[in-house]
Amino acid sequence: MEWLQVMVARLTGLFRRRVLDAELDRELSVHLEALTEENIRRGMTEQAARHAARRAFGGLEQTKESYRDRRGLPFFETLAQDLRYAVRMLVKSPGFTLVTVLTLALGIGANTGLFSLVNSVLLGNLPVRNPEELVVVKYTDSRSQQAQEDFSYPMYQALRDKNTAFRNVLTRSGVDFNASYGGQSERATGEMVSGNYFETLGVRAFLGRLIGPEDDRTPGAHPVAVLSYGYWQRRFGSDAAVVGKDLILNNNPIRVIGITPPGFYGTEMARNPDIRVPMMMATVFRPVPANRLENPRHRWMTILARRKPQVTVGQAQASLDILYHQVLAAELQERESSINAHDKERTLASRIQLEPGNQGFAHLRTEMERPLLLMFCVTGIVLLVACANLANLLLARNAKRKQEISVRLAIGAGRGRLIRQWLTESLLLSVLGGCAGIFVAYWAETALLGFLPADFSANLQAPMDFRVLGFALLASLFTGLLFGLAPAFQLSHAGVSITLRHDSPSIASGERIFCLRSALIFLQVALSLPLLIGAGLFLHSLENLRGVSTGFVKENVFLTTLNPAMNGYPRERIKSLYDDLLALVRAMPDVRAASLTTSSVISGGWDQEGVKVEGYLPGADENMSPNAAIISPGYFATMGIPFVEGRDFTEQDTAARPKVVIINETMAHYFFGNKDPLGKKIGTEDDPKAPPDREIIGVVKDAKYVRLSEAPRRHFYAPMAQELRLLDMTLQVRTSGDPEKIGNLVRAQVHDLDANLPLYATTTLEIQIDDSLMQERLITWLSSLFGLLATLLASLGLSGIVAFSVSRRTREIGIRMALGAQPDDILRHVVGHMAFLVTAGMAVGLAAAYGLSRLLGSMLYEVGSADPRAFAGSCFLLGVVAALAAYWPARRATEVDPVVALRYE
């Protein structure tokens, strides 16, 4: 505690300095006077007495100095002194200050903005109580070796009730609603949750109450719902009276019992469901298949569990795995008759795998991790280039301050003291830059968030928390140290005598600075080139994606999605509604074709369906699930997908007629080789004994289905009229004019047909494809931006050093010209060194880029890591920019007048 007392005393010593100084003066003079008087009494003369007193006392100023050092905090007092001086210096050269602060603001801002994203996307936890106790329950599939996370309800029940490792086990499953209130219906996102969902997460109601175990007992018997805060705000204007009222969800009155707190979004950051209903309502909201809560073969829910604090993840996994296998074995027992030995073995080879659940289900995060970290590295490199640039600037500036430096050294300033003062200056600059950078970061982050899906970006909270601010501060200090150390390095070898002379840029002086600055240029070039090459690779990849042959015609197609099944309509009504809609839309002006499909191309998702193929014997672990879509007649005409052979579905292919399918070329080759597939049959029945019953009546060309970068996939189409399941259907309309114009007509038509039928995902095919390239576009855009920024900084540095070198060697150039050198010779002489530097930097940069581009691998589409276009193009660009940057100041060398130059010193 004693040091604390001393600290307080010293801190108070910082204030009232003038009063305290006066007191000390008085105290010491009293002492001296007393001594003098004593000496006089002993018989000395007054002058001798005074001198003797001073001798006995010792150095008066030293005493005061050491007294003052002890009284206050000399470190901070010196700091304040340095800061005052630094501010004066910066104010004196506003241009330099502005350029430096702006450069730093951009560099630190870009880094902070990206860190802020990394912080919230990759490091952020679920907004729930003790998120680190949560685990995501998954199982490994023995065939794909990938972790799966969909469980059946019976399995969930068993894991919940019989485990020993968890305090609570929740389950959830996504569901969409047609929500209607006050005569207005719309599409709402939702989630079915187990009764212990909120209890497990530790979330309390904002209003009313949340779903509890008592709301999740009997299938279909709990018509209650909880709204998210955002939905409540948006849709109900934050009206508290809505709690206790009924919403109409898919034609069922459902009582709103409460509102979740603001900031709570559930268990996955990429989603924020509007409405939550009890899991037992699955029989109402997902009525097909009817036995989804009982049949262990329907896997459709994900599980999150809260560990008991004393149980480790490893222990929990081991104990849960045993339980999982007991349940699996019992399930297999029941299905003994219909399952072969191989399948049984495969099922039992599956293992429980627990993953940290502090971030919940992190699908999109996993997807974004690599691009985000990549961009973070890129901005880091840009900051390094900026640092090198500023170090160069400071060196040039200090070369002009030689006089001041030598005077300070001569009157006794220590080197350490000088370095300390310069560091104070550069740190002041970098902190200023950092502060400005926070604004840049804020802007950058807002811009970046614009590229993310809306649901996702809305869930990213507190973008500027203490971690981000801390990062900005650290980045500032780091950069300040980095570029502030360059002049310090230079100083440590400067002598007082050299610098005190009236110094001139003669041939010999400044050699060291020149070397240091050359090294910095080399570094900048070597760092910038990989960035440019990276940008080139992404650009090439994006171009490839844009130019990819999709297999369909993307222009002039209007898309919208609807789901009348949600309104609880009987099948007959749905069917006639679809038929009417198609007939009406086809009759509209400018419409060339219209059709319906369960899967819209390049929308990111697709159904797969297990098949059996007549005359084809699959291998033990062969994947027999091609993509599948259910379509109306006219689909291929709408999409512009050509037939290879056979015919399209017609209105005659009804449920009463023999079942038919159309397959794509890849599927035809896969299963039938060179034989004609027409007339062959495939089957989709679960029952292994049922023979294939769907006749292949046509083969169409391949297309891209889920994303543009995919490899050719097997695919088959079944006609709507013969399919039981009618889920979301996308209406696609090919027009001869602008597809967006048809939108209002379609909307009005649907409203006339059924006012309670919301349309959603309304867009055009071109926009949908463009949206699918969002991430690629963002990366290309950012990497190009940063690559160019780094190149610009490097070329500015290069320009500066050439100018420096020219002015340093004015006399030498003058002599050369006087001796008859031609301007070309001079130019070659001046630029030669730079050309060497840049070439060397580019060689190292090329090697680094070659090594690093392999890491990009899967992020590039049909671009080799040694893509000649990107490499050559980037080298060319950097070379041209560097040449221009060097040529401009070098030209001045050729304009040197030998007479003036020789008189220069």
């Binding site: 004693e2 007392q5 001393v6 005393a9 010293r10 007191e23 000390l24 008085r26 105290e27 010491l28 009293v30 002492h31 006077e33 007393a34 001594l35 006995a56 006392f57 010792g58 150095g59 008066l60 030293q62 005493t63 050491s66 007294y67 002890r70 009284r71």
Partner: protein, 114 residues
């Protein structure tokens, strides 16, 4: 070497000041310096100025306190007083000093005897 002979170690000076204040009661800087000179009979070569940073250090630690007062010859002077914790410190330091002194005596005595 002769000069360093009489120099005072920091801790020693602290102890001397504390002891002086205990023996003589409240005293100003000059008085303390005089007393030290008197007692040491000029064995200690002390720059009297170094006393003041030492006094400040002791005050910051709370072992002495200071107050402006009037001296015998009617001058305003700053008087230093030993505080309660200063007294404790003095005891502790005296003890450890004596232990050290005894140790050194024993050590040096034996060395001489050998």
């Amino acid at each position: 070497m002769a000069e360093t002979h009489g120099e005072v170690l920091q801790g020693t000076l602290d102890l001397i000041v504390l002891k002086t204040l205990e023996a003589l009661g409240p005293l100003h800087g000059y008085g303390i310096a005089m007393r030290i000179q008197q007692v040491s009979e000029d064995l200690l070569k002390l720059n009297q100025g170094t006393l003041y940073p030492a006094l400040l250090r002791l005050e910051q630690r709370g072992w002495i306190s200071s107050k402006w007062g009037v001296s015998d010859n009617n001058r305003k002077a700053k008087y230093y007083t030993l505080t309660r914790s200063g007294r404790k410190q003095l005891l502790a330091e005296t003890e450890s000093w004596e232990r050290m002194a005894a140790l050194m005596t024993r050590l040096l005595g034996r060395a001489e005897g050998a």
